[in-house]
């Protein structure tokens, strides 16, 4: 897998697009002081789980990671981190750009 393919997969499978509402809700909140509690409720039995099914991370992400490890040196990883971040920022600032960014990615 090439760096371009890795980047495409990473983008296509959407981890960078998952700037979730739940996260937004934990950030600044003008009405914060009106809520009764800032706790997130859980009711889950603690346990261990297999690395290969780690949490909610999408499977293609693991593929991305494996490919990254196999094919890229440190400098390339740094460059890739840079690109991932900038793409994610573009997507966040203007969701309508998703298509054009996607097209751009697949023409890499």
């Amino acid at each position: 897998m090439t760096e371009k393919e890795l980047l495409k997969n990473f983008y296509r499978d959407g981890l960078v697009a998952q700037v979730s509402e739940s996260y937004r809700n934990t950030m600044r909140d003008a009405n914060a002081s009106s809520t009764e509690s800032y706790f997130v409720e859980r009711s889950q039995q603690a346990d261990i789980f297999s690395f290969t099914t780690a949490g909610e991370a999408p499977a293609p992400f693991a593929e991305f990671v494996n490919g990254l490890d196999a094919h890229l040196d440190t400098a390339s990883k740094r460059a890739l981190a840079d690109r991932i971040f900038r793409l994610a920022m573009e997507l966040k600032s203007d969701p309508s750009q998703e298509l054009s960014i996607s097209q751009y990615m697949y023409t890499l």
Partner: protein, 602 residues
Amino acid sequence: MTAPILAVSCYYHDSAAAIVSNGAIIAAAQEERFTRKKHDASLPVHSIDYCLKEAGVEPGDLEAVVYYENPMATLERILKAQVHEGGDAFAGFHDAALPFFSKRIHIEAHLRDVLGRLGKNDTLFLTEHHMAHAASAFFPSPFRDAAILTIDGVGEWATTTLAYGKDTELTMLREIHFPHSIGLLYSAFTYYCGFRVNSGEYKLMGLAPYGKPRFYETIRDNLIDIKPDGSFRLNLDYVGWHNSTRIISPKFDQLFGAPPREPESPFQSHYLDMAASIQQVTEEVVSLLAAHAKRLTGSKNLALAGGVALNCVSNGKLLKAGLFDNVWVQPAAGDAGGALGAALLADHVHCKTPRQVGNGRDAMKNCYLGPSFSRQKVEASLQSHRLDYEVYADRDELFSLVARELADGKVIGFFYGKMEFGPRALGARSIVADARNDRMQSILNLKVKKRESFRPFAPVVLLEDAPGYFDLAGASPYMLFVADVLNARKDLDVAELIQQNDSNLYAIANLSRSGIPAVTHVNNTARIQTADEQSPFFHKLLRAFKEATRHGILVNTSFNVRGEPIVCTPSDAILCFLNTGIDILVIEDCIAYKDMQITSIM
């Protein structure tokens, strides 16, 4: 019966390995003790090797191999947080993500490289960071059931959790998520006051009693909104861990009217007051969280873990408040203890191994979980360093001699048995001295430990004698509770002294405040370790000292110098002995006097 379970924490700070078998902790050790790099975060290959040898098991025969967090979820958090913030956040993402790309998400491959096979199923198991902390707090505790409170900087998303443990079950109930973190806020003040993040928090706690909490209201009004249930939200305008490479933002400096203190520069009262203020806020949050945990669970017992649980001032106040009948703190409350928690979680919850509780004792074996060395190995090491030494066949005779030397003002390096797991030296790798000596604090700080003069030393006291010296109910075997010193001088006003002495903390710290001045902090408190037969060597030494002086109490500080990990091997101890002002080394029934060594080897 299940085979032993190995768990690992690494790639953040304080990496460690632990191994458990059928509910019993077999061994645990921090990598820094082997590599001699303080807070070493690397893959703990030496600790793993030690644990496997101690348990007598091959990697392929392990029931399971467990990592103490879910690195995928953590990377997801880092990415989402930085993407959300934008702007200058890329540098933060860059710093945080690269170690992941290189290390943490490859933990399975890295462990397979070391172990060959990851247990019977050749599978790496994960847990969540705060689940591991909660497990480390509850499963080794002496409680059948307990409310559990874990607080640290951050794991995957959680920074604070409330949980409930009963028998072999552990249920997570409430969480507070990143970026809202009381642990990171405390670290922000640590940085601001000129100490290193992730290691200087303890110093900040020690500094706090010198100051007045005059910024308490400023913090409450601007930085943190605390609800009656203890949950909180931070004003992120003042911090930087979510969107930059700095832990505080420029607005933080503006709010408090001064820049961060330069490391190693003199202490101005501003920074003393900052330390006092964040300490008060932290105590308030912990107290409210504990009260809510009590309401949620109805338990009379509380178990604590996570880095903030090492705040023994807060722990002491929690204990004294009497909200819970019993409070137990995991001695390795930081990330090293996460390895132990992950192993116990796999054993009790996943493998359904029953817990053994009911004798009032915890399962930590007094933290003596690390390597030990035979007399033969000790003597070989003494000889290789060309030290003159004597061997005592009669330990009672040796300890009587040591007691007399202590009473005579000598500083003694004390090395016996299995090394401690966790940040505190508890009698296996300790430096001991006479707590009654009013010069001892400065002698230890400047000649031996070579550290900041303001920092207090801790006492170890015979359990049965503790009520005669301290306002402490019950045992404190792990030095995790601070309590008032009885009969201390109340007439010394710290603020006035600071003004009179031009903020010279050295002069103030060395004022005699009680009959045990070397362990009495400026606010007339002490961080107490109680010792009984479960600490056999320390207990015997204290008994001998009491016989010689009528006082079963000593200074106990870790066997190391500033910036280095606590000693592990006889050779580490010998080098520390030779390079510091330690007068006498007592090591597995061998005794060496500094003034009897040939000058050429020193």
